[in-house]
Symmetry: C2
Subunit: 394 residues, 2 copies
Amino acid sequence: MFEFVIDATSGAARVGSLNLPHGVVETPVFMPVGTQGTVRALSPNDLRSAGATLVLANTYHLHVRPGEEVVAKLGGLHRFMGWDRPLLTDSGGFQVFSLEGFRRVDEGGVEFQSHVDGSRRTLTPERAAEIQWVLGADIAMAFDHVVPEGADEATARDAMDRTLRWLERCVRRHAELADGQTGGQADGTAVTDRRSASPPDRQTLWPILQGGTHLELREEGLRRICDMRPWTGLAIGGLSVGEPKALMYDMLERLEPRLPTLPRYLMGVGFPEDLVAAVERGVDLFDCVAPTRNGRNGSAFTPDGPVNMRNAEHRDDPRPLDATCDCETCTTFSRGYLRHLFMAEELLGLRLLSLHNVRYLIRLAGEMRAAIRRNAFGPWAGEWRRRYLHSGSA
Amino acid sequence: MFEFVIDATSGAARVGSLNLPHGVVETPVFMPVGTQGTVRALSPNDLRSAGATLVLANTYHLHVRPGEEVVAKLGGLHRFMGWDRPLLTDSGGFQVFSLEGFRRVDEGGVEFQSHVDGSRRTLTPERAAEIQWVLGADIAMAFDHVVPEGADEATARDAMDRTLRWLERCVRRHAELADGQTGGQADGTAVTDRRSASPPDRQTLWPILQGGTHLELREEGLRRICDMRPWTGLAIGGLSVGEPKALMYDMLERLEPRLPTLPRYLMGVGFPEDLVAAVERGVDLFDCVAPTRNGRNGSAFTPDGPVNMRNAEHRDDPRPLDATCDCETCTTFSRGYLRHLFMAEELLGLRLLSLHNVRYLIRLAGEMRAAIRRNAFGPWAGEWRRRYLHSGSA
């Protein structure tokens, strides 16, 4: 379990297969984001039809609503959301550091205000591990201290050091839970109930590398993470938060030779061009709300670049949104009908574009795997970019 | 084509089959409402999985957006909305008389203001027939003058007389279109283009009986409609517009012996209890936005009466919404998850409850057909009401 096998490489790009309790995930892989236990506007059947193999949910959101104890009573996160394939939960670190309003950080953890009811809550490394254990995703993430884009080196170092200390506490708590030691949760509810029926290897924990845009911090953090213990995967956090794209690409390129062969997860990425650039630099896993959020805004990914379905040019266009795509949206409806749904503010439009955009990124990952297996990733990427980035399309 | 065969009766209740260009419809039947060319929050696949055989769309809405000429360019209403089974279009009469804002009625037709862009538009009996012909539904409705609930007899008579004069004009224009005479549309675009590829029996036109809550007017209107020509179906309009339910039931009961054996369509109904009461009084077809609108509001039909999914009692309830139901919602998700979707304002909740409510009414129609075939509609209805209306459930 949690074994990662690299099947093929092309330059730094790799095809791998990651063995998880709820199934095998082929990488590179794009994870749709189900923030509140649902990928917005899509059903589990939609996700299966789009070819999703791994879905992300957010610990922070599920903790504040409905609460992990409710999810547990309803059979755990997989059963709760009707998704029987692999799941990954983010730790809540990114969310509590992104919240507007009150937030207090100390060595213990983060006190913050719920965006739902304004109540004061605390997340610590231990609580983040406990909540994720109760939710029961295949992959849990360590609780991290995220700094804003452009943070200076002292701030970034302080947060990275804290993230590493928190990582040790996450690992300890996660191991206790996996070993069957209860320890008890902060709110006094028993954790054992939910665990007893599960195999001891039901969940793995991945560390998150921070360090802002400071390469030497990233390198130091990576060394210290790798020295701490063996891992089953590694996430790169704190990128794609507003810095110039070239900076992110450069950072990935310089980190790549130092990264262990473990599965590498670039958090919060991305847009199609970012996926291609990051796979080229050795990244294996991605998540992003872009396909669903942009879809709800009427923006669709196509091989010729993004298309705004609200544009008047689509008014009576009988062609499919993307003639190369096999999704329900593209095989059933015309561009004219999709435009009508957006102009008329019909809910079906939100869903049809979300579905297509998710399918688009999943097909893109599949195309990349094929190009890597042919050991032709570079030429494929050049061809892909020529069409996607330089087409005259809207 | 357009043949209606009654297969079984039980009291005034009947099972029939209605042969339409896009398929056979078994009655009693509930039509989901696709106002703007989409049943809100549901896809054609959802509708098929819910067992829908006949769907309604609105001439007024499609005329003002995207315009019937756009629908025609995109292949007609069936192809536009991806629905290959039978369709019925309402004439726009009910909508223009329900609009807030400017409206002027004279013998020619109705001048009104578009709710989309405020532009002044005119609907006449001829235009309503032309637009519906271009849309291409299996069943078109005559353009009618609808009076508000509680209208006095003089007002209701005036509107009924006008509706009958308009009916003659609708019939004439519809026959011209079906016979291949162009006549030309008000906006000068040719109608022939869209018709040439279609069989001459591609669409039938049904009259709408008005007369408010005045029985003698309804009886007179019915006589005059039946004397006008042979029909393939008959609609009863102007009920379920706010009058007491007992009054509607009484009106149906007193009209029933005078109705021809034609398919009888009670417009804008309804709620489960109204469907049962109206089938008991010989009605065959129904449409209503209740299942989708109530579903979006978090209210679900169940055999034990309506359930508000937002109620705290569902918080950690692992049971399905309706254990007797075979829809995706009830076979996949718990009440607790459905409540979470509504509390978290997730789009998936709107869709899952809309899907269940539509499936509920379609299953209800199926149960009624089975009870009629057993010649046991009365006892079945009594049993159904005991459970639906008198259960203690929320």
